[in-house]
Symmetry: C2
Subunit: 258 residues, 2 copies
């Protein structure tokens, strides 16, 4: 079995101006890890054709799958389809099935398919649709590139829609141990010795931000047993330094940001 790799290209001025904090990169990272696909790179660029084309062409050549988010809506600043088409050297054409889905969505609400709404069916030629379970207008797949919406609920719905199209790779398992009141610099020596003696396990050290210093050590491996054995060794090293290791992440970590 081989490794499968992916990248995400998040598109939008608002992500770089400070207006909006991107949520899709982190969501995709977790979603892919659960499906044995490794997210290797993430990029954020503005609603700028040159920037989108350059980033997309670099990423689609380097990884098995590329997911984009943002810029496929009905307004003038939504230019992702034009940029993706340019990156692939294709024309933008009206996709009949996309138009049918968009029309069905608005007609069910008793609304018209106006010119801006119809614009959401102008897609790179030859693209395959990605169904949108939230607001009707679909995304597209072209080769190894999945072009999806930026609004998180729609992005997530589209991800579920493409799940069966993705080939899974080798699952990487992770196990963690946490010790408070232990600066990572005290653990660094024993940690290096443990990492050096192990094969097939990658150990990461993550200091805990905040007043009460602490550290979480994460072991990642294709083998659950190897990851667990590494964490047992780290826990023993923590105890030898007078700390009280707790298996797992710190419970409130998610709320603390990075």
């Amino acid at each position: 079995m081989t490794h499968k790799t992916a990248a995400i290209l998040a598109i939008g001025d608002e992500l770089l101006s400070g207006r909006t904090r991107d949520a899709n990169i982190h969501y995709l990272a977790t979603w892919l890890a659960d499906r044995a696909i490794q997210l290797k790179e993430a990029r954020i660029v503005a609603d700028d054709e040159r920037a989108i084309v350059a980033a997309l062409n670099a990423l689609r050549a380097a990884y098995d799958y590329v997911f984009t988010s943002g810029g496929i809506g009905p307004t003038h600043d939504d230019i992702t389809y034009e940029a993706i088409a340019k990156a692939f050297g294709r024309k933008v054409v009206e996709h009949p099935e996309a138009l049918r889905l968009i029309a069905r969505w608005y007609e069910a609400k008793g609304e018209e398919v106006t010119v801006p709404r119809r614009r959401m069916a102008l897609m790179p030629e030859g693209a395959t649709l990605i169904l949108n379970p939230v607001t009707g207008a679909p995304g597209v797949r072209i080769d190894n590139v999945f072009v999806m919406a930026g609004v998180p609920s729609i992005f997530q719905g589209m991800l579920n829609a493409v799940e069966t199209a993705l080939e899974r790779g080798v699952m990487i398992h992770s196990r963690a141990v946490t010790a408070m009141r232990l600066p990572e610099s005290r653990l660094a020596g024993p940690l290096l010795a443990i990492q050096t003696a192990l094969e097939g396990v990658s150990i990461g050290s993550y200091p805990i931000d905040g007043d009460e210093k602490g550290v979480t050590i994460v072991a990642r491996s294709q083998s659950v047993r190897a990851a667990e054995a590494a964490i047992d060794k780290v826990a023993a090293a923590m105890r030898a330094l007078g700390a009280e290791p707790v298996i797992g992440e710190r419970p409130d970590r998610e709320k603390r940001g990075r």
Copy 2:
């Protein structure tokens, strides 16, 4: 006055595995916008020398300033300084002043400067220090690249330490108007007409995620008056569609993620 541009390279396996949601990109975006520097691109790569070197060399050639976050701690997985040195074709050497700062930090706490702690002074040759007001071990500046810590409190402290070294560009002002129960596709036509008639103002449309559909329109310009005039026009267009525009962003937006 010219535009000043910047990019950020966030480094760390944990940002791509789903373990940690990066917080530094969004913080930097806001911080730079307040200082009239435009964040043009963000990238996240793993603790992988080849990936760091390739990304750093691309970004430092393209933008006025590049900020990196992560990978400068005392443990074996902290490889950012080695990678940055390689990108610049420099050696890694012990920086005497960095070592002095690190020693002073630990000695004040009655602790020893162990080998892993001393490792944090192994830096690209010829680098200038960035003071760390939080935990002692400094970051470095080389040419237009600022190499900083990944822990958000330290990243933010280092940013403040480099502020005076940055040349500011043209300030971009933004103004916003929000209407609930108005899908952006209904506003798209009038919005295009408003954008087409304006010069020097860039209008962005951001649908509001959640059950109660709505949209925020943001106008960005070097001129506060031009941004405000554009928002007045958009508010009038919203009213013409039967909506009730409120000047500004939706109050709870920050909590809703992207």
